[in-house]
Amino acid sequence: MRGKQMTSSPRDEPLFHGGGVMEACDSSRVSLREFGCEQNLLSRPDGSASFIHGDTSVYAGVYGPAEVKVSKEIYDRATLEVLIQPKVGLPSVRERSQEQCVRETCEASLLLSLHPRSSLTLILQVLHDDGSLLSCFLNAACMALMDAGLPMSCLFCGVTCAIDADGQIITDPTAAQEKESRALMTFAIDSTQRNVLMSSTKGSFSVNELQQCIAVSQTASEKIFQFYRDSVQRRYSKTL
């Protein structure tokens, strides 16, 4: 879909984010782009958030717990539905598989059994894709679930790692870096034990590379969880 539809990019920034100069040292590649989040920005959903990784941007909205359709009702827990809306065109098979990943990750951290026979709906809208989209979905989803005040057993965050042609690990790659890379992995890390909740990979890689990427993601997740903590602290700073 993306190959055929063309949305012209205004800035000629072909390879690297923030200047186009390729730096040789490791630290520039193994870093997280600037990221930001705004919670409670939409009036209709029960919980909403926007999450930004560099230029990649996603909106998330949560409705529920609410009435559930009889056909989707589960007698001992809430039904969670995740919908991903692409920017151009209708959702395709790729979105379906991403929906599955996000849904099962959320199901693992949400305490769904506290709301039996009800429905939760999480809608994710792509605003701009500049790499690491799946991890942006996960982070936006987590922030929106927090905003909706749903009970969760742990928080989670997404980290994308790419391995370039020289075998170097790049964290939080841009779209151009993703294209150049030999392998791409996205992990969801939980906040209690820093274990892998979700894993989705592309390309082929060795066992060692996988374990390294997991270790890098676990380290990077610390930064994101700290960010979660900071933003919640900021939000409730006036009421505390």
């Binding site: 949305t7 205004p10 989040c37 060692n208």
Partner: protein
């Protein structure tokens, strides 16, 4: 998921307030809510906030074969997505009455008004033309989706740049934005839709109804007009009879509103052009409100790589090497049939494998 129904006392309260010329958000009868226009990172990506209503439009293009009866014209395609994010009443992938109505009105407003020069979108006559696709996503529904969608769509079209093409013989090359500067669409005029809602069988009228007001209204009149005061489309819905005078009055109000909005769109486009020319960043990170307590931004941070390799090696080594030797597979030829061959692999006992064949 169903929308929360409106209670009777809420309905009565709203109608009484309208009778007393009061609105929930303190506006006057003819006031629009605050309009905010922002742009995304891409060309052709526009956000419109109309009070709490939020809409995103994205324009994209594709080279396709033209329609047979119009070989020299590009194709305009409009799609309004009523995303369930905007309201719990919207369902994904279902063509509701509202979505058909909005799509039709947007098409009438922007395609049938011939505001875009479709002939300039022809690349090779009868073979290749540009299809311009406008996707409008509703992000938050707080009433008057149509006006927000029409502003977002026309602003996104004005903002959009399509890639330049070159023709050598019968080869068509599409140049990337790095090779050649992308080209804006040629737009003759900007039709903008203005909605009026009527209450108590047309006794009371409000401009730019919010979601609560839309729930109690009797009829809706949508007028699409450009700044030259030319009406591009007019539609009344909800089964309400209107007097000629009422329609005339509405069109007069519309002309004032349209000129205000056109000016605002012009300013927003001009502003964005300046920022982009100055090489400033225009991504979403910049649009994040810094002063709000609900928003937080963190700068680029390095990730410690200190012990990553050791930790990874540790795990790989601890797990040990998987056993590499397996008993040889044996194949019993006597029990094969002539068409095809079956082989069975019996379950191994804790990684110790025994394999033999089965009779088909």
């Amino acid at each position: 998921m169903k929308d929360t129904p409106l209670s009777n006392c809420e309905r009565d309260f709203l109608l009484q307030a309208i009778e007393e010329k009061k609105r929930l958000d303190g506006r006057q009868t003819y006031d629009y809510r605050k309009i905010k226009i922002t742009f995304g990172t891409d060309y052709g990506c526009c956000f419109v906030d109309l009070g709490k209503t939020r809409v995103m439009a994205q324009v994209s293009c594709e080279l396709i074969a033209p329609k047979e009866n119009r070989p020299n014209e590009g194709i305009m395609f409009f799609n309004i997505e009523l995303s369930p994010m905007a309201s719990p009443a919207f369902e994904q992938g279902r063509q509701s009455e509202l979505s058909v109505k909005l799509n039709r009105q947007l098409e009438r407003c922007l395609r049938n008004s011939k505001c875009i020069d479709t002939e300039s979108l022809c690349v090779v006559s009868g073979e290749k033309v540009w299809q311009i696709r406008v996707d409008v996503h509703m992000l938050n529904h707080d009433g008057n989706l149509m006006d927000a969608a029409s502003i977002a769509a026309i602003t996104a079209l004005c903002h959009f740049r399509r890639p330049d093409v070159g023709i050598q013989g019968d080869e068509v090359t599409v140049y990337s934005p790095e090779e050649r500067e992308p080209i804006p669409l040629s737009i003759y005029h900007m039709p903008i839709s203005v909605s009026f809602s009527f209450f108590q069988q047309g006794t009371y009228l409000l401009v730019d109804p919010c979601e609560r007001e839309e729930r109690v209204m009797d009829g809706l009149l949508m007028i699409a007009m450009n700044k030259h005061r030319e009406i591009c489309s007019i539609q009344s819905s909800g089964g309400i009879m209107l007097l000629k005078d009422q329609v005339m009055r509405c069109s007069k109000i519309a002309s004032v509103k349209v000129s205000e909005i056109t000016e605002l769109v012009g300013k927003a486009l001009e502003n964005d052009k300046k920022v982009r020319k100055a090489g400033g960043r225009c991504g979403f990170a910049e649009s994040l409100p810094q002063e709000r307590i609900t928003a937080l931004k963190m700068d680029k941070t390095p990730v410690e790589m200190m012990d990553v390799t050791e930790r990874a090696n540790d795990i790989v080594q601890k797990a040990g090497v998987p056993p590499q030797t397996y008993p040889e597979l044996s194949l019993n030829n006597s029990c094969m049939n002539h068409e095809n061959v079956s082989l069975a692999l019996y379950p191994p006992l804790m990684l110790c494998h025994t394999v033999s064949t089965v009779a088909p």
